[in-house]
């Protein structure tokens, strides 16, 4: 496996605030990694550092390049959608395709046009005339038509309705992802991307508090639904988080074998969203 991103002790300070605090991680080729964190956790700052949009301390290598100092070379092999509002409103679709075709060596105009012909986005329309969902379709079509090694998505579906959101991820998987490409994605709508991730990373207060593959989650985390005396027994095993719903106690355990919890209630692997809450609350407790 080759590592596309290698971060060792990456930090970014804004005055006294450490937005990103000695972060280390690796992202391997062919993975779809979700970067999850509350607002202000440092997600966007970390992504900006990876994209070479901001300088940082520590050791950061993306596709073997120093992102801040070799941004131009890097951008030939990286794409990103940072927010749906990012495409300039004045530009016409054809102008956008013209421009990218003339500056991007890995862009296939034909593929972009083919993808766009499946949408309602007209070639002569200006971005300001398109709905938010159509702008995202346009952006995703462009990015899919760029033969890039790494795609970075920062809240790509913010403000979109459920139909566009579902379609976005469907197209992302069917048109973009081919096992060769790698995706790093952040979003608040965790449940929508849960099924497409291969790896997951939680960030809080500038620090990584979880970094592992989706496959390995069931071995590490268990959610137990229990009540009464069983709940007290379970509590002795040290859940990292507990809350109650309809009189039932729901506990999340980390590193506790399932055999030890057997008989105390219903077990399942926690959802990303529940695990996220447990880890964040646990970290701040």
């Amino acid at each position: 496996m080759t590592s596309l991103i290698t971060a060792r002790g990456v930090s970014k300070r804004f005055g006294d605030v450490r937005a990103v605090d000695k972060v280390s991680f690796e992202l391997e080729k062919g993975k779809i990694m979700g970067l999850i964190g509350p607002n202000g956790a440092g997600k966007t700052t970390l992504l900006k550092a990876v994209l070479g949009l901001t300088d940082c301390e520590g050791e950061l290598s993306v596709l073997g390049l120093d992102p801040f100092r070799q941004r131009k070379e890097l951008m030939q092999n990286i794409c990103f959608i940072a927010d749906v509002a990012v495409l300039p409103r004045w530009v016409k679709v054809t102008q956008l395709l013209d421009f990218i075709a003339s500056v991007h060596p890995n862009f296939s105009r034909k593929q972009a046009e083919d993808l766009l012909s499946r949408t309602k986005v007209r070639n002569d329309a200006r971005v300001r005339e398109l709905s938010k969902g159509m702008v995202t379709q346009l952006h995703l079509s462009i990015i899919t038509a760029i033969d890039a090694k790494l795609l970075i998505l920062d809240e790509p579906t913010l403000g979109l309705d459920i139909i566009f959101r579902k379609e976005f991820y469907r197209n992302l998987l069917s048109d973009y992802f081919d096992g060769e490409r790698t995706i790093l994605i952040t979003t608040h709508q965790v449940e929508e991307i849960e099924n497409l991730l291969t790896d997951i990373m939680f960030i809080d207060d500038g620090r990584i508090i979880l970094d592992q593959s989706m496959e390995s989650l069931p071995a590490s985390y268990v959610e137990l639904m229990t009540s009464g005396a069983d709940a007290d027994k379970a509590r002795h095993l040290g859940p990292i988080h507990e809350h109650s719903v309809f009189g039932k106690n729901i506990m999340i355990f980390e590193g506790v074998e399932r055999e030890r919890l057997a008989g105390l209630g219903d077990m399942r692997t926690p959802s990303i969203a529940d695990l996220f809450v447990a880890k964040i609350k646990g970290a701040s407790a």
């Binding site: 970014k12 804004f14 700052t45 900006k48 994209l51 949009l53 901001t54 300088d55 941004r71 131009k72 070379e73 890097l74 951008m75 030939q76 990286i78 794409c79 990103f80 940072a82 927010d83 509002a85 990012v86 495409l87 300039p88 409103r89 004045w90 530009v91 016409k92 102008q95 013209d98 421009f99 990218i100 003339s102 500056v103 991007h104 060596p105």
Partner: protein
């Protein structure tokens, strides 16, 4: 590199259509005024028109050329004025708008360096805008001459002789091109300053650009009791070392009772060698270069983008 630059320049023309719309609008207005003038003149007494024509026939070629050149100057300064305003607004907007509408994140997601982007904006201000202005001046001149010719022909005059035989086309156009391009180069420190403010300011670029130009001389005057900054900044408007000293007395040769042939040529008033050899031009160009470099660094290092 050149391919990128051409793509970036084209991108600027897409975004800032005023680069060509404003000069075209002025050209159309000037031509309409000229046309209206001719129509008004034609409705006057036919005898009077003939008298004007007759008078034009009698005066010498040099005087007619002088009159046409003065007419050309009269229309051209409006284009230079438009260019100045256009340059201020274009440069102040060029690196500010992309931050305001957040499209900077998209532009920076493409394999284009910040230096390439900022230089494309500098090139628009220093080369493209003056060239577009020059073309607009030339086209307007031609349109006006055609309108005048038609009027003369209607009145039964000889337009080929009165207009086309007398107008110093190449002299006028070359002089216009030189003055326009030289003005942009001469004013380049301001262009650099505006680019820097555009990249730097969080709000109100126009105010942020002009406030220091007023406040700094005031502070200098109050604290140091000197006015070097004011002279450097405001003095620049009035002392472009391109023009030779204008000798109005020499313009009309008293002895021969006619205008001096040599002096009605606009090019004769321009001293390109003196302009290119003047240290204040190159100091200005260096200031422009430094401020543009600063703009590139601001775009590159600004974390919040």
């Amino acid at each position: 590199m050149i391919k990128h630059q051409l793509a970036l320049l084209r991108r600027e023309l897409w975004e800032h259509r005023s680069i060509y719309v404003a000069p075209i609008a002025v050209a159309v207005i000037m031509s309409l005024i000229s046309l209206a003038g001719m129509i008004t003149a034609s409705t006057f007494d036919h005898e009077l028109n003939l008298a004007i024509l007759g008078a034009s026939n009698i005066v010498g070629d040099s005087e007619r050329q002088a009159a046409l050149t003065i007419f050309f100057l009269g229309t051209s300064w409006i284009f230079l004025f438009t260019l100045a305003i256009l340059t201020v607004f274009y440069t102040l907007d060029s690196l500010y708008a992309e931050r305001k509408d957040k499209s900077i994140l998209f532009w920076r997601s493409l394999p284009v360096t910040d230096a390439e982007t900022v230089i494309s904006k500098l090139l628009i201000a220093i080369v493209v805008l003056p060239l577009v202005t020059t073309v607009a001046i030339i086209v307007t001149h031609l349109v006006n001459l055609v309108i005048s010719s038609v009027w003369i022909a209607i009145e039964g005059g000889d337009a080929a002789h009165l207009i086309w035989g007398s107008v110093a086309l190449l002299d006028n156009w070359l002089a216009a091109a030189i003055v326009t391009l030289a003005s942009a180069l001469w004013m380049s420190p301001f262009i650099g300053w505006f680019l820097f403010v555009s990249a730097f300011t969080k709000r109100m670029p126009l105010l942020m650009a002009f406030m220091p130009l007023i406040l700094v001389p005031l502070i200098e005057l109050i604290i140091l009791r000197s006015s070097y900054f004011a002279e450097a900044v405001f003095g620049r408007g009035g002392m472009m070392p391109l023009f030779r000293g204008m000798d109005m007395e020499g313009f009309f040769d008293q002895d021969r009772m006619q205008v001096n042939d040599e002096l009605i040529r606009l090019l004769a008033h321009l001293d390109i060698a003196h302009f290119l050899g003047s240290w204040s031009l190159w100091v200005g160009v260096i200031v422009c270069g430094l401020l543009t470099t600063a703009a590139i660094y601001v775009r590159r290092y600004r974390g919040e983008s």
